[in-house]
Amino acid sequence: MHGFQRFLAICAFCAISAAAPAKASAGSGFLEERYHAALNDMVQQVRQIPDPAAKREHLEYFLTRMQHGLQKAAAETGGSPGALSQAQQADRASLTALAEKYAAYASELNGIAGFTRVPDAGLDEFAGYVRQGSEQAAIGGGVYISSGVLILILILIILLT
């Protein structure tokens, strides 16, 4: 990433961190939008790669980075579970659940942990499946973390890697 772009991203991070409310409301809509857009970017990139091996590599890179980033974010949510507020505990649970979801995606992609390996011909569809997992009409669209800052961490994981 170019220095100027990184600078802008850091500015955005600082600005949103300062402005985002402790509890998500209208502002988190933007963050969620960015999350969905980032997933869609991934899907389009996968589709544009002609070589199945390269497709798989791209998907694996994305999924594992997401998994590790979410795990780190969950670990940094606070101290021991007893010391966390209810909202923090919910955040941590959401992040952990999301990290596990991405770990399962990565496992299926590679055919480990009991999953059947995604065939080469199904990689585009699989990428769409990952995106659609966040587009359900569940409360919060299937992805909801109550703190805007935590969602921003998610976005930065995607955008800055």
Binding site: A26, A90, E125, I139, S146
Partner: protein, 393 residues
Amino acid sequence: MRMGTGHAIRMVAAATSLFAWGCGGSKPATALQALPDPSRAAHSGPAAAVADAAPPAPSSPDLGNSQVSPVGDTVPLQFIYVIHGDAGYSYYGRDGKRRQADEEAVAQAKTVAREAGDAQVFLFHQRPHRFLGMVPADDGLMRLYRNGKLAGSEKYARSGTRDAMQAEGELYRKYASPARHRIFLYFGHEIPADSAPASRPYSRSKPRLAFNLASFTEAVHGFGPGLRPDAKPFDLLVLSTCHGGTAAVTSALAPYADFLLASPGDLHLTYLDSRASVRLVRERPLSADANVESWGKTLASDSFAQLCENTATSVTVALYETDKAAAYLQAHRDAWAGAPGAAGASGDAYRDCAAIPGFGPGGLEAGVTLLYRAPLFGADKGKTFQSGWECAL
């Protein structure tokens, strides 16, 4: 993945808007009166009655030309769409283009409204209270169609403390003609069993607006009884949400509709599709009660086909014959109502109710017509679904 300059600039712009959003005022939304007020026609003497009979006020470009039926005329069929848009509803199509689920549901409702013959169609769109997070705006818009024409529209405020959909019920009672058959359709996220905590509001711009299964049920009740004596208020109730087909939701809504069309599992924001109503109005009018089930099955199969074509996640669409279903659920209440989170606690994981000891098989004998396709990937790829209901773990 690399971040483009455009991305970074958009993030800065959004951050700026978030700062401003934190400073906005809280002016109550204003209502634009574009519809003739039927209460004046009924109670305020000849002048108001003339207003109803005359072409609508010229100040409203939306009003049809003498197509507005005087309130009191019975209409054969009525659709009531309530579409929630005050939360995250964006998704991306197969073509990679961004879609807004609530706007697409509005478009779907407009298609039905314009092409469904002499039906009366109410379209309520619940929108964010603030535009771009900054400017207070009317957060509700009602459109009323009669005979395929837009008869009028009215902005309204979903006030901050009343139950969600109370405002819609009031407007409906104000403008609705008596209807021989009524179909109620709700599009939104999963209806929570309990009021969502402030950290996880159902309506993002109005976190204190109460919304849960009890208030939803009460709101449906608020749309009033139907015309037919001893009949349920609605012929068909459509819940285009995730987990609309749980045991708890079915039990709560069974008294209000002959049939319930819903998804017991997750539902992609592609949503259920009601556009088949347009051809059903012509081919199988609801004059015969038997056609209600047929309508429900057609809407279910069309929705199922559309969802299967556009998504790789699981697709579950079920039509419940509510009398049978409610009796079955009542007989097995100890099994599902005793399970932890049985009422469908927000965000909990769900499972097929048939997996609960004592619940029984459900399915057809319980009045459930089920359409199910397992997800194309994931741990549930080969999963079967039996009972037609999901219960929270």
